[in-house]
Each structure stands twice: as structure tokens, then as C-alpha cells.
Symmetry: C2
Subunit: 330 residues, 2 copies
């Protein structure tokens, strides 16, 4: 009920205006609220672009990495390695890709032996596939992924340094195991390491791949891997091999540069002899290396060209382990 002033003509108009304005304001607020809900979630997990300024992120996401370790038939090695890797500086989380189909994960044991420095997630797989580790895991919160084979031990010093190198080269695969392809006069490519002739660019050798079984890479490449031609998945599944070669093709194609940056490890060890399982890894299969040459040629067909590029840059840590490791006669 209005009082005396409401009855004044001007005031009547004023009240109506006031009501109208109030309604308009309320409607606008509701519309604004609705629009806010429609805003896309800001995702910053795109592939790195050297032109971008660093965005403000939680320290954690930028300054730490997630370890992805795929495991098959070597749980004793896995557990030994988890004890090592759980304590690496800048580690955010561990994702164990559990390829032991139908077998219980050691999660219970893991929990009973806590507390642990970082969380570990066991991702139970339904099919034992080599490429299971290349999924775009929703558990990933960091930009950087450290991928490690379940029989490989790399020292904390090497990892801390390589991580700092990756942060300077986030669009590359920064790791410890370099390999190369070579051309032959027939046009058929072959895969190998330094025992093969250098690709002929002057002095020394070149590498064109860095294996992902001991390397840092940007999580965006896992996202990217989901959009590859079906033939790539078929190749990896057919060979149970070459997921790392495929990843190098992907990165090289995307960046137009050498896919990897090689960091020379001071202390890297293969523990496969230490396993009780008797299982000694896919690379012992007779056809393993021939398969990898086969994969290189198949991938060239699939990608309609050879995107891999050569590099001869070898990075070591200045003054470590020997504080005078850079000394010379000058």
C-alpha cells in the first residue's frame, strides 16, 4: 500500500518506473547469470606454443610432472621402482597403467605401506595394449608427463635436470634414449642406434627420435595422439611395439622440428635382469628391431612423408657430477 504521496500523479509514474526498472535489473542479472554458466571452461592443456606467454597457473601444474608407468608381468620391478620414483623432486602424481589383465593391482599393499609422498593411481586396463599408456588420462593435472618403462631406473639428479631442460623445450620429447632412422638408396628406411652410419651431415652422428620409455613430454601430445589415423593404432596393436616411434612422428609432424632433445644421463639402469617373473621385455623378441624398421616405413606411408628431423644436440648438466666437467685449456 502506498501512502499519501503515491496518489500524486508524478509519484504514480515514479513508482511504476521504479517497478519497471527493478524488473529490468532483475531480468538482466538473471540473463548475466545464465550467460556465465554458458562460458566455456578454461582449459589450458593445449599443446605448447612458443609464442604464448606463460599463463598464471597454480605453481603445482607448471613446476611439477606426472609419472606414467605402464607395467606388465613385472610387479616386483614396479614396486621397487615406485619406491624410487615416488620421492623424485617435482613429482606431482604417479599413474600406473596396469596391463596385467584380470590380476588385482597392488593398491592394497601400496596403501598399507603408506603414507607416500605422492598419490598413485592404478589404471586397470581391459586389454593388454602397448598404447594403453598413451591415453589422455583425466587424472593428469600437470603439463609435463614423465613416461618411464617399468624396468628403467633413472637417478633423481638426471630427472631433475631433464625436467628443467623440458621446461625450456616444452614442445619436444626430452629424454635419455636417442635413436635414429636412416635412408637407403632404395628409399626404404631403416631404424637403429649409433652403430648405423650417420645420416651424412658432416661430423659425428645424428638422432631423429627420443624414446618415450624414459622421457618428458607435454600432455598435449597425449591428447593429440587420440586424433591419429586408425592405421597408427592398428600398427601399434599389430606389433605390440612402435608406440614411441609413432609419438616421435606425431611430434615432428606437429612442430616441423626434431621431435626430441637428448639429455645424456649420468645414471640410468635397466633392471630387467632383476625380475623374478622371468619376463624380460618386448625388446628381446627376435623380430623387435626389424619390426621397428617396418614401423618407420609404415608410418611414412600413413603420414604420407617422413616428418622426422635430425639433431646432434647433446645436453649435459654443467658442473655435474664433476664440478669441473666443462674445463678446458683456456
Amino acid at each position: 500500500r502506498c501512502f499519501h504521496f503515491c496518489k500524486l500523479p508524478g509519484r504514480v509514474m515514479g513508482i511504476r518506473l521504479l517497478r519497471f526498472t527493478s524488473v529490468v535489473i532483475i531480468v538482466l542479472l538473471l540473463v548475466a547469470g545464465a550467460l556465465t554458466a554458458l562460458l566455456p571452461t578454461i582449459k589450458d592443456d593445449k599443446l605448447p606454443n612458443s609464442r604464448r606467454e606463460p599463463k598464471t597457473q597454480s605453481q603445482s601444474a607448471l613446476d611439477s610432472f606426472t609419472l606414467i608407468m605402464q607395467t606388465y608381468n613385472r610387479t616386483d620391478l614396479l614396486l621397487k621402482l615406485l619406491n624410487h620414483y615416488q620421492a623424485i623432486p617435482h613429482l606431482h602424481k604417479i599413474i600406473v597403467v596396469w596391463n596385467n589383465i584380470g590380476e588385482k593391482t597392488p593398491e592394497e599393499m601400496w596403501n598399507s605401506l603408506g603414507p607416500h609422498p605422492v598419490p598413485v593411481v592404478f589404471k586397470v586396463q581391459t586389454v593388454n595394449r602397448m598404447r594403453n599408456r598413451l591415453q589422455n588420462f583425466p587424472d593428469l593435472e600437470t603439463k609435463a608427463v614423465l613416461m618411464m618403462d617399468d624396468d628403467t631406473l633413472v637417478s633423481a639428479h638426471d630427472l631433475a635436470f631433464a625436467f628443467s631442460v623440458w621446461q625450456q623445450f616444452p614442445e619436444h620429447i626430452v629424454g635419455f634414449v636417442p635413436r635414429k632412422h636412416i635412408s637407403t638408396p632404395s628409399g626404404v628406411y631403416s631404424y637403429g642406434s649409433f652403430e648405423l652410419q650417420n645420416p651424412g651431415f658432416g661430423n659425428g652422428d645424428q638422432y631423429s627420435m627420443v624414446l618415450i620409455g624414459a622421457a618428458f613430454l607435454h600432455r598435449g601430445y597425449l591428447e593429440d595422439f587420440q586424433q591419429q589415423p586408425e592405421a597408427v593404432y592398428a600398427l601399434i596393436d599389430e606389433t605390440q611395439n612402435c608406440d614411441d616411434i609413432a609419438m616421435n612422428f606425431l611430434v615432428a609432424k606437429r612442430t616441423g622440428k626434431p621431435s626430441g632433445v637428448f639429455v645424456k644421463p649420468v645414471d640410468i639402469r635397466n633392471l630387467e635382469k632383476d625380475t623374478n617373473s622371468g619376463y624380460s621385455g618386448m625388446w628381446h623378441r627376435a623380430e623387435h628391431l626389424l619390426q621397428r624398421s617396418y614401423c618407420v616405413n609404415k608410418l611414412v606411408n600413413i603420414y604420407d612423408g617422413m616428418p622426422l628431423k635430425y639433431s646432434n644436440i647433446m645436453i649435459s648438466q654443467f658442473g655435474f657430477p664433476n664440478y669441473a666437467n666443462h674445463k678446458n685449456k683456456m
Copy 2:
């Protein structure tokens, strides 16, 4: 003179229009021509910006470098070194900065012992200044400059590799001699090499400067050096030292990153003992290193802050000289 059709009213109008149009077109062409003359000359000698796409240039300018060698009182070493450096792959030209005031250059002898693989220009100086080598020489046609002291011999293998590294890091000083500064609790900085304690970033050592007496750098920094505060020139002239420290300050300030990238040399030699002149270089003066610490602190004052940043990246050539120099137990 027009013919019969000119007399027709419509045609009269047509002719006038035609004349008018012709005059307009001619005037426009003249104006366009004049504007073309006013267009700025496209200069591509600005400092490198990692965001830029490579411009189409003559192969020569992009794929070769200019050696700048300043010399004082060591002509015998100079000539020995010229015989070495004149044959380095990818060398475009040599600029000798002749600090022997009033003395004839060896140009006549040089010419009489031709032909030579590359042209050499002797730049006669009027005052013996350390910073003479940091002029923006109009003789420079390449983006890359290799600066070398007149007593330093670096192998062709090292230079070819370091040049390829510079091409990947053109905004850095890419060279063979790393140094660092350290902070002390008093806030006073000190200059030194690896014998000084590491700056405290975990394992190993760090460097914050790469000396320009054996390094590749972008010619744009010579241009940039001409625009520094007068106090910088005064400091270099007063000490006859520290031009290289000043250059590292300049680069670090400009890029916001570590100024240098250290490439570990395989074969670098100091020939100063071989000179007949008896002159053994500025760095033998008693006060040389103290001067350099002094310079660091003065430059911090001049630039109102410490722009130098640390790096621990050491680059070597993959597979050279030992083709298995990256081998490990994997």
C-alpha cells in the same frame, strides 16, 4: 587535332573526359612512383625475435657468419690465426679490428699471399680501445658474427657445430667460455669461474655469462650496443676490460633469459705463449679479475639491477669426436 567525330557534342565531351582521365592516371602514376621512393628500405638486421618466421634471404646471409677479430701487438699470432680461420666452413668475411695505432696493417702482405677463401677487411682504429670490436661495422653482411680473441684457436669442427647451435638459438651468445657471477650476503657481486661456489640451485654449477672472445652472436646486438648509457663506454674505457661482461648484461636485459648458451669445445687453444711480441694479453694484469668483479657491480648500478640469469645447460655434439660418446648401459 581531332577529326570529324570530335566535333560531335557527345564526342567533344568524350574527348575532354578522355584527356582528363589520362591526366589523372598520369598524375596518379607519378604520385605512386614518388611514394615508392619514400618507402623505408627493408632492413632485416633487427634483433632476433623467436616469434618471427624466417624471411627469404640470400643463402649467404643466413647460412654464413662474419669473423670479427680485434688485434693488438700480436700480429704474428693474428696472421697464424687468419690462415686457420680463413678456411672455416660457412665463413663469409673476416673483419680485423686493427688496434695497433699508427702502424701499417699487413694488408699488402695479405694481398700478396692471395688468393684467399674469403675477403678480409682491416679496420684501422684511431684509438686503442677494447670496445672497438663492438662497433656496428657496415661491412657486416651476415646475421651471425663470430667474435674471436687474437690469441684463440678453435677447431673448425667446434665452430661448425657451435654455428649450427647458434642458428637454433640466435638470440643468445653461443660460445665456448662460460663464466659466472655470484651474490654475497653483503649484496656485493663477485665474478669468477667454476672454482667459485655454485650459486646454490641444487646440483652442479651454473654459468651466467658466455665470453665474447670465442662466441657467436647476432649482429643486432652490436647495433644495440651503440645505444647503451655513456657510463658503460666509460667503464670499458677506464678498465680496458669488461666489454664482454657489458655485452652479456645487454643480452640478458634484452631477452630476460640467460645471455649465453655454452657449447663445450673439443679443441680450443690459447696461443699467447707462441707470440714473438712478448705481449701476453690483458688478462695477465694483476688487477684483471678484481676489475671484472668491479665491472659487474658497476654495471648493476648503471642498469639499475642484475639482469644476468643462470643456466646449467652444456651442449656437446652427439657422436663426435667419439661416435659412441652418448653410450650408456641401456
